[in-house]
């Protein structure tokens, strides 16, 4: 046994010295930086804001000597995760230049990666707690593993608010002032009552009941899964009750998010009062660049809504085995802690960035306002929202549970099943996705 260990040690030393001799560079300075992500967002942030980055073509770039390779796989049907899983599982055997260096994750499935050996602790990259002190706590909670180790960083914060159609608010509620509108949506019972008023005036309160889902599901008191048993939180069941009321009374539809039917309310003819979402939704996803849309006319207003919540966000994780430790450290520090660079993102891209003092300063700055929101400065609302987000109840199964729950409940809302049958369908679907779970 001892001999074997000694042999292995000798071989490793020999190999290490050989490698050092060949490359003439330390192991933390590979020539290729492989980045795995699902859309162009991070790439455009790097291109626009990271110093020394030069674009070569659509999928490659250069930072000094290092070639940056973008491996972009769309999110649809889990394709991004499937691809990433397959690559990470082969990480150990891959050649240094083929190893994943950086991969991006979303909140819904962050734990799946963070809670494994495949993700490097941020501390091991040389980033200290001091460095990330200005970041919002929730953005760190999401990527902290079960042992309390921070394993990723994000440049953005995604506190979400309620966006309402100002014209409709004036007509039905008598004012489009955020404070007045807030009174009509201050809690869920008032929200449902206002929905009746909206319906009488010919408007849908929300496009689909799935719009409100995340607001409820972010304010739960238990995890989806505890000891491999599926739990349904009371607040989620409240979503079911409230939504059933809305659907039965015809105050809202049951479309899936992102469907054509869902998006109709982006235009005045769609007759929808409000949507729920973070900054990126109203800026990028609600047809603000299309003439005639509510956003283009500057007729959205923002208010806090019944409960605070967050939606989306992208985290940067370093893959174990990377040969670009120094570069990753610099990218993380620049993108998520450099105040000047980050305020640049807010001004250019209307994003809400993960830097508390900087955002609070901008919230107080009267010169900043959003055209889509009719000249309102929503940053103060986002700041407040970001403070109140509590993410202690995330689990690695959230994505599957959230998706399947909404799908199953659609049957209940539309009258194709009673509540128990719909819940059974949910359990069945989740247990198919995650065979280790029971209920």
């Amino acid at each position: 046994m001892k001999k074997k260990v000694l042999g292995a040690l000798l071989v490793t030393t020999m190999l290490a010295s050989m490698l050092a001799g060949c490359g003439g560079k330390s192991a933390s300075n590979g020539k290729v930086l492989n980045i795995y992500c699902w859309n162009e967002e991070f790439k455009s942030r790097i291109t626009d804001h990271y110093p020394n980055y030069t674009e070569v073509d659509a999928t490659t770039g250069k930072i000094g000597e290092v070639t940056v390779k973008w491996n972009i796989t769309p999110n649809e049907n889990n394709a991004y995760q499937n691809n990433l899983d397959a690559t990470l599982l082969k990480q150990e055997d891959a050649a240094a230049d083929d190893k994943v260096d950086i991969f991006l994750v979303e909140a819904d499935y962050a734990l799946k990666y963070v809670d494994t050996e495949y993700t490097m602790a941020v501390k091991d990259l040389g980033i200290t707690d001091q460095d990330v002190a200005n970041q919002y706590k929730y953005t760190k909670d999401i990527v902290t593993d079960s042992k309390g180790v921070l394993k990723g960083l994000s440049w953005q914060g995604c506190p979400a608010v309620l966006f309402y159609n100002r014209e409709v608010a004036k007509e039905v509620l008598g004012s489009d002032d955020p404070a007045v509108v807030q009174e009509s949506v201050k809690d869920w019972d008032t929200f449902v009552a206002t929905a009746a008023t909206m319906d009488a005036a010919g408007y849908d309160m929300v496009s689909s009941v799935n719009d409100t889902y995340r607001v409820y599901s972010n304010n739960v008191s238990t995890k989806w899964v505890v000891d491999n048993k599926i739990q349904i939180d009371d607040n989620i069941m409240k979503w079911v009750d409230d939504s059933k009321k809305l659907v039965d009374a015809g105050y809202a539809g049951t479309h899936e998010l992102w469907s054509d039917d869902w998006s109709k309310g982006f235009y005045p003819e769609g007759k929808v009062f409000c949507y729920f979402g973070p900054a990126w939704l109203v800026n990028f996803s609600m047809a603000a660049d299309q003439p005639g849309s509510v956003g283009n006319l500057g007729q959205w207003g923002a208010t806090v809504g019944p409960q605070g919540f967050f939606w989306g966000g992208t985290w940067i994780c370093a893959a174990t085995g990377t040969d670009n430790v120094e570069l990753i450290k610099d990218i993380m520090l620049q993108m998520t802690t450099n105040e000047e660079l980050m305020t640049g993102i807010v001004k250019k891209d209307d994003d809400f960035v993960n830097n508390k003092p900087a955002m609070e300063a901008m919230a107080a700055d009267t010169s900043y306002s959003s055209a889509i929101l009719g000249g309102q400065n929503p940053l103060a609302m986002y700041c407040e929202g970001a403070e109140s987000i509590d993410l202690s109840n995330l689990s690695a199964f959230d994505q599957g549970c959230n998706e399947e729950f909404q799908k199953a409940m659609k049957n209940y809302f539309e009258g194709n099943a009673d509540l128990n049958a719909a819940l059974d369908l949910f359990y069945k679907a989740v247990e198919e996705k995650y065979p280790e779970l029971t209920h």
Binding site: D85, K112, T116, D260, A396, K407, N411, E414, N416, E432
Partner: protein
């Protein structure tokens, strides 16, 4: 001398084997190995939880027990058969009618080539694209609902994909549209293979066209009809793409349009090769039995 002759015979054989190599290789790599490994997998617990691989652990027939203990598989089998029958019955009727018209020389149909091409065309579109098209057409705010409302037939949009029978009908309709051209051509080939002297003799004896169809065409077409039926049944059992895309993989409402293969696909989310394998083996057995039936009938024909 003798030896050289034998050598020649052997070398002919050699070419036979060489020509077989491409087929055998492709068959072994893409059919036989997956088939055997599927059967082997079905006896193991083997799935992935997040990034953690569970198993493979040998668990004997536990996967089969789990599948049969759950009544769901019969519901999905029933869904599959219902949607297949709903599509197959109109398909065979329309195909018989078109086949009879196309193959009847006394009708002197014009532009036969054109129509034969047109009815076959839907089959050339990818099933998923076809399904996507129907999904958009029949969505709650889609063109079909707009037209029906504008014509005053409906007061508010009908949610086609939220009702059991409208969803199943759409799936059946799509399968019908995609496959009736193919069936027509098969049946037509069968009808044209029937000896024309039989038709002439019947006409001379004063039989009506309806009588000729029922007494001569149909009985002689039986082997082809059975072939069409069994291949369609085998295809129907494997129905996947159309309902998968139309219902977003959920078989909604309440899984009433979920087919067996869609159920199989559900297990692949967690790379559950054990359960997936067991389900595949069950499907394989059913399909195998049906293929044996075809084999038996085609043998009868030769007698």
């Amino acid at each position: 001398m003798k030896k050289a002759k034998r050598g020649k015979v052997v070398s002919y054989n050699k070419w036979g084997y060489i020509f077989l190599i491409p087929f055998i290789t492709v068959y072994v790599v893409f059919q036989l190995i997956p088939l055997v490994s599927t059967i082997v997998n079905s006896f193991f617990e083997n799935y992935r939880s997040g990034l953690t691989q569970i198993g493979p652990t040998f668990i004997g027939l536990a996967n089969y027990k789990e599948i049969f203990a759950n009544p769901d598989i019969w519901i999905y089998a029933q869904n599959t058969l219902i949607m297949w029958v709903m599509g197959f019955v109109p398909q065979i009727l329309v195909s018989l009618l078109l086949g009879a018209w196309f193959s009847d020389p006394s009708l002197r149909l014009k532009g036969q080539g054109f129509f034969k091409t047109v009815i076959y065309l839907p089959n050339l579109i990818m099933a998923s694209a076809f399904s996507m098209l129907f999904f958009t057409l029949f969505s709650d705010g889609g063109p079909i609902n707009s037209i029906l409302i504008q014509m005053g037939i409906l007061d508010e949009p009908f949610k086609f994909l939220s009702h059991v029978w409208s969803t199943r009908t759409l799936v059946a309709l799509m399968n019908f549209l995609m496959w009736f051209g193919n069936t027509t051509i098969l049946l037509m080939a069968g009808m044209m293979g029937i000896d024309t002297s039989l038709f002439e003799a019947a006409q001379v004896d004063g039989a009506t066209p309806t009588k000729i169809f029922y007494k001569i065409t149909l009985p002689l077409l039986k082997p082809i009809l059975i072939y069409v039926m069994i291949t369609s049944l085998v295809g129907g059992l494997q129905m996947f793409d159309v309902p998968q895309i139309l219902t977003n993989g959920n078989g909604e409402p309440m899984r009433s349009s979920m087919t067996l293969i869609m159920y199989l696909n559900k297990h692949l989310y967690s790379k559950n090769y054990g359960m997936g394998g067991a389900l595949s083996v069950i499907l394989f057995v059913i399909t195998g039995v049906l293929s044996l039936v075809v084999f038996k009938f085609s043998n009868n024909k030769e007698k």
